[in-house]
Assembly symmetry: C2
Homo-oligomer: 459 residues x 2
């Protein structure tokens, strides 16, 4: 990006629009320079109208928890933070919907739904900071996608401001609504490059009345996929978690001296955290146990431990969630990819074979198997053996060879821009760029995210 002085006339107009507290300007030598903090959709609209006229780039900001640098401001770009638009405007218990402003933090929304005995079924590690606007913009996934779907499936309506300031209000509350093109779908997952999301209508579900959790040891990949199918068929509609840990993950996190005691002995091929969310506490627990027992008889499970209390459940989840522990091992790169189940075993074997060439290699694999979604952590314990580009190339070339997705749930942002062509054809990319140019002809909305400005200009 060309570094440039902010347009003083534009800044003056924005100051008049937003007031002193609506504008945060950092000292010259720090990035970000300018962050705009509107309080209303009308202000967002006015901001974009002014910035559009001035050709001023704008980076929409939510909780800044994205893992693909989709929220990074380059010098000269204005941040557009939704932090002062964080209200829960309505919880409609009769229609089981929630209307929120885009800056509302996920955990706040989840807790408000819980108070009404309703469930907002989005959940992932960044719940305490991620905003619902950012979640919609990145089509976030997380822990319960297998049961409730990605953010896309939870969003019934959106209000979006286009690059030229036009407000598109599609705050639909109905589950069925086939009136022309479903515009909201265009903006979900577009990472703020097509419009700024200002308001959302979310679908709420009944709050589960039972929670059943187990940690299972499994002997082979075939048994693992067999188990997934078995459980999905026998826990009709209630399977909400099938989180697989390859042994390197489980054994390191529960190693001697760590915070976590191993609930199952080391030495198995796979460890799976399984969860169902049901409606009848007593009979659900019994049924869960019966189904796992049958799977054991079928040879799908080698060993199992069931949680019998909330603290036991938490202890199991804490093992799965203690991912940050791996960041202490040495320099690493976390990856987020999808591969179909029939290719997953070969995919992981190919990655491992590639990592054999790395001295002191770190190679950790885990993920939401029911969604085809693997997270991999690759690195080296010693800085001298860490080659960022080589690891990245190994990973993404292997994804491409197995026809996987270079981004399962984290998005493209800046980080994966150069990898996008591994999962999408030239025709698809040209079509996406045509959409971007139609909706944002001056490329002011989150420029250089998903597509580099030069690529767009040349496309």
């Amino acid at each position: 990006m060309v570094e440039s002085q902010p347009d003083t006339e534009l800044l003056q107009q924005l100051r008049e629009l937003l007031g002193e507290t609506g504008l945060r300007i950092q000292p010259d030598d720090v990035i970000p320079d300018v962050v705009l903090r509107p309080q209303t959709t009308e202000q967002v609209s006015a901001i974009l109208r002014l910035c559009s006229a001035a050709g001023q780039a704008v980076v929409p900001l939510g909780g800044k928890t994205g893992l693909a640098n989709g929220h990074i401001q380059t010098r000269g770009e204005f941040g557009l933070s939704l932090e002062r638009m964080s209200a829960i405007e309505e919880i409609d218990a009769s229609n089981r919907t929630m209307t929120v402003q885009a800056g509302c933090i996920l955990q706040v929304a989840v807790e408000a739904a819980t108070e009404q005995d309703l469930l907002l079924p989005l959940d992932f590690g960044a719940r305490g900071s991620a905003t619902l606007g950012g979640i919609a913009a990145t089509n976030a996934g997380g822990n319960r996608v297998i049961r409730y779907g990605m953010a896309r499936e939870v969003i019934l309506g959106l209000e979006v401001v286009l690059a030229d300031g036009t407000v598109i209000s599609s705050l639909n509350k109905m589950l069925k609504n086939n009136t022309g093109y479903d515009i909201k779908q265009w903006f979900i997952g577009a990472e703020g490059t097509l419009g700024v999301i200002t308001r959302l209508v979310l679908r709420l579900r009944p709050n589960p009345r039972s929670e059943n959790t187990a940690l299972l040891a499994v002997d082979s990949f075939d048994a693992l996929t067999g188990l997934l199918r078995w459980l999905d068929a026998r826990t009709a509609g209630t399977l909400s978690g099938f989180e697989v840990m390859w042994p390197e993950f489980y054994e390191y996190i529960t190693r001697e001296g760590s915070l976590h005691k191993p609930p199952l002995p080391h030495g198995s091929a796979f460890y799976v955290l399984v969860e169902t969310l049901g409606s009848e506490p007593e009979s659900d627990a019994e049924r869960f146990e019966t189904v796992l027992g049958q799977a054991m008889e079928e040879g799908l499970i080698a060993d199992a431990v069931l949680a019998h209390s909330q603290s036991e459940r938490n202890a199991l989840w804490e093992i799965r969630d203690d991912v940050l522990e791996f960041f202490k091992l040495g320099p690493i790169i976390p990856f987020d990819v999808s591969v179909t189940l029939d290719r997953m075993e070969d995919f992981v074997a190919d990655i491992r074979a590639g990592m054999d060439a790395v001295q002191d290699a770190i190679c950790i694999v885990f993920g939401h198997l029911g969604d085809c979604n693997l997270h991999l952590i690759l690195g080296a314990k010693d800085h001298g053996n860490f080659d960022h580009d080589a690891l990245s190339t190994l990973l993404y070339e292997t994804v491409q060879r197995h026809e996987g997705s270079v981004s399962a749930e984290h998005g493209i942002g800046i980080t994966k821009r150069e990898q996008l062509c591994r999962s999408r054809s030239e025709a698809e990319l040209q079509l996406m760029m045509a959409m971007k140019k139609m909706l944002d002809p001056k490329n002011i909305l989150n420029p250089n995210k998903i597509f580099a400005a030069e690529t767009l200009a040349a496309g």
Copy 2:
């Protein structure tokens, strides 16, 4: 539309491309004139390239079961039938996906999935004729949306041919794939106006192992919505049907002398057909009965009859499905709308009040309450009292006043084109038209559907 002679040079090129059997030309005085019958995506691409160059309008044809005239060919428009592209290309049991050509008939696909003990969860009356391409193009809904979602939620990947012949292949099989814009969403529900769908990847589910069905009588609308919430919370993830019949529906279909015996006596305010699809035949039946018993104790259900065999289940569904019976009453119009639950009772009361002015009025209300989706059949027993425009105006004005949707699941087509503005804002319509113009600048793809050509030209 201007009537015109087909371009003989274009016809010659198409005949060379498709062969004699690939082209069906009807006698001059019959509509449709020309139907193109490609066998491959490459042929669809070549057809659109030729038609695009010649400015020739093309109407994509599936099973022609749509209820909004989205498939109607006007003289001079070429039909593009996918009837010779009907193969099931793959059932991938390990990933639980099915890849089909767009002309594949729903029932054929459902039966093929069942043979693998898998469920393709799309189901509605036209299952024997509707094609999966048409289902995707109209984002069809139907009977089990409450559990499995609309067609949009079942479609993992699409192959689409654009107006200029470009083939967009997005045959994704993975549940999570956030690699740039989710292009397939643009075409789902676009009624063939943005591209021609040629291939689909569908998500399959485990085949349910138990089916529990009951017919319930309910005393008030409050009890009805309370019952929906109650059942949804207590049948965790398995509720697959909540089909409500207002008394005029139930009492007419089960009247003396009709084919259907009334399983419950006449005289209740509402009748509800409830279904769960579970995994444990014995304990599911017991649980279903317990939950209904509790709802009765809570005063949510006034009377109930449970189906104890497949034939009893069928008998209950046949009452709900015997909608064609109302077409014999006299001239009628079937409507398909959505209204949020908190406004639904008033909405129906307003329609009924409006129908009081009609002599010999027919006013039948039923629908998928869990999806906010009502079907209404309005008419008059005597032709002399039937005023199509007055009934249509009454219905749609009332939908608009209650902020509902003029099309829940049937789409806009030609039939509801003039009503679209009642459910969508001017800004939304302008944005949709911009999309149409970008993807189909010559307006050759299903012209005059959703938007009249004049509206597009003026917009």
